[in-house]
């Protein structure tokens, strides 16, 4: 199959289990203790190039694990995943050239200025050149960030501004696949709308986007396909218009509401820590 006709993402039987910390004795200090949790049940998935796919589910549903596997940050236990035809385990270096990720916590050196962080990102992605400052200012202007934001330490920016700089950073490295792990979670309504507008703008650049979110409305408005996940399994997969009201669909398929599922997931985590 030629490179051009390869789907953006392809997974087959992709499976991941984690050891939940706490409980049980470790036979050896370097061994992980605790009970096992299946984060991803065997997952078969294909994402077409240029599509925006939403992944919806409560905490612990496997959204972030899927993103981390595709970002080469977590190794799967079974099955395989390919990004533009490159295996995420055996060909991870090529995969890294295609991807970037925006996570719920903007991963920055908080004492460094936005410019210093963006310069660092551009250098490690090999895209820094003499026109970088101009390009950075252009991207920030496109996303409605004032120019003076650039020279302020990140810790002085609001969470919304930090998240916008994080998206600007990912755009600067021109990824073919953008993995967005709850980019609007915890933002105030105005920042949330602005970040959502940035995500919508990215569709015009034909970037393949995988958007993990808790927000049903966000998924319905921004995505042309939605995966509904729970306990590491895909409960439903289709166009938002086909799936109907996602909240009702989740309740119908899982037997509980999304908020209830989140509380349940938190209790499981707390229980494992105690």
């Amino acid at each position: 199959m030629s490179q051009v006709s390869q789907p953006a993402v392809e997974t087959c039987g992709l499976t991941k289990r984690f050891r939940r910390p706490g409980g049980g004795r470790r036979a050896w200090p370097w061994r992980q203790a605790g009970s096992e949790v299946v984060a991803l049940h065997p997952l078969d998935l294909t994402l077409e190039r240029g599509s925006t796919t939403g992944v919806i589910g409560p905490n612990g549903s496997g959204k972030s694990t899927l993103v981390r596997v595709l970002a080469t940050l977590v190794l799967p236990d079974a099955g395989w995943a390919r990004v533009f035809g490159h295996d995420v385990v055996t060909d991870s270096f090529r995969v890294k050239r295609h991807i970037n990720r925006v996570s719920v916590e903007a991963a920055f050196f908080k004492e460094l200025s936005a410019w210093e962080n963006l310069l660092y990102a551009s250098r490690i992605y090999g895209v820094a050149d003499r026109s970088l400052r101009l390009r950075v200012e252009g991207v920030l202007a496109r996303f409605g960030l004032p120019r003076d934001v650039l020279d302020r330490p990140l810790r002085h920016l609001s969470r919304g501004q930090q998240q916008k700089v994080a998206i600007a950073r990912s755009v600067l490295t021109t990824p073919s696949l953008l993995l967005m792990d709850e980019p609007t979670t915890g933002l105030d309504p105005r920042s949330k709308r602005e970040v959502q507008r940035m995500v919508a703008d990215l569709r015009e650049d034909s970037v393949t986007t995988l958007l993990c979110t808790h927000d049903m409305d966000e998924a319905e408005s921004l995505c042309d396909r939605v995966l509904l996940m729970d306990y590491g399994r895909v409960l439903a997969d289709g166009r938002p218009s086909q799936l109907g009201r996602l909240e009702d669909l989740f309740f119908g398929l899982s037997g509980r509401g999304m908020e209830e599922a989140d509380v349940e997931a938190e209790q499981v985590v707390e229980g494992s820590v105690c």
């Binding site: 984690f18 050891r19 370097w30 992980q32 984060a39 972030s64 694990t65 981390r68 970002a71 080469t72 940050l73 977590v74 190794l75 270096f93 890294k96 050239r97 991807i99 970037n100 990720r101 996570s103 916590e105 991963a107 920055f108 050196f109 908080k110 004492e111 460094l112 210093e116 310069l119 660092y120 990102a121 551009s122 250098r123 490690i124 992605y125 090999g126 820094a128 330490p153």
Partner: protein, 276 residues
């Protein structure tokens, strides 16, 4: 194909050096505190030598003792900066929450780690020169008999095993996000104890002498003292240089291999996302 790839790696290498420089610039107050701490430690050792003469019943060569101790203290100041800068690099990224971002970038781990090491070596050198100049002023150190060429060669050769040790220790926060920092400090303490920074290795008990014999710092210190105090030429410090060269050949590849293993392990167990 090769040239763009090399250019990319060179750019990333510069990126890591520049990032470390920017971080030092932003945390300048902390750096000033550490510089003062290094200075005070070295000066204390210098005054310790002077104090020993006044409390000792027998007489001894104060200048010689002071030089011996100060060379050790200065080298330790340099080596500990380099060691800490390298071995804490992963821990700091965990603390800042950027470790996943760095590991996700299309950069060879060799480039990443060598970028960190290059900055650590340069920064360690600058800080030590500042402390050395102040110590020379205060103690009227006489280095006129020193063989500077030999000292520079010993220091340069020591760089590689030191880098290897730093990379090996930087793995600890990948293995244990909660306890990695403490283990790194413990390793640093053992290196100090079994290397002859403040005393000849011969005064140590047998097991510690054995440990000192596989510690590259032992040979660095002996080589540097031979060059700076004894004024010996390169040819006569070969017994110190040879083990350093050998350890460099072993420790750097070993450090990279162990780091690769620890990175894969962290990815298998999902340890990268955890803060701490």
């Amino acid at each position: 194909m090769l040239m763009p790839a090399l250019r990319g790696e060179a750019q990333a290498f510069a990126g890591f050096v520049e990032r470390q420089k920017n971080l030092i610039k932003r945390y300048w107050l902390w750096e000033a505190v550490w510089l003062i701490y290094s200075l005070v430690s070295v000066l204390s050792i210098g005054y310790l030598a002077a104090g020993l003469q006044s409390v000792s019943a027998s007489t001894f060569d104060l200048r010689q003792a002071q030089l011996y101790l100060l060379v050790g203290a200065l080298l330790w100041a340099y080596l500990s900066v380099v060691f800490i800068e390298i071995s804490f690099s992963v821990m700091w990224e965990r603390w800042e929450g950027t470790i996943e971002y760095t590991f996700m970038a299309p950069v060879r781990r060799l480039t990443h780690l060598f970028g960190i090491c290059a900055f650590a070596l340069l920064y360690g050198l600058v800080r030590t020169v500042v402390v050395l100049l102040i110590a020379m002023l205060l103690f009227h150190l006489d280095l006129t008999h020193a063989n500077v060429v030999t000292a520079v060669i010993v220091l340069a050769v020591s760089t590689f095993p030191l880098m290897g040790l730093g990379i090996l220790t930087s793995v600890l926060p990948l293995l244990s996000p909660e306890r990695g920092e403490q283990m790194t400090v413990a390793v640093q303490g053992v290196l100090l104890l079994a290397s002859g920074v403040y005393y000849p290795v011969s005064v140590l008990p047998g097991p510690l002498q054995a440990l000192a014999s596989v510690n590259p710092l032992t040979y660095t210190l002996e080589g540097m003292r031979a060059a700076l105090i004894g004024g010996r030429g390169v040819g006569s410090v070969w017994p110190e240089l040879a083990p350093l060269v050998l350890m460099g050949f072993v420790l750097v590849p070993l450090g990279l291999a162990v780091f690769g293993w620890a990175e894969r392990r962290a990815k298998r167990f999902g340890l990268l996302k955890r803060s701490g």
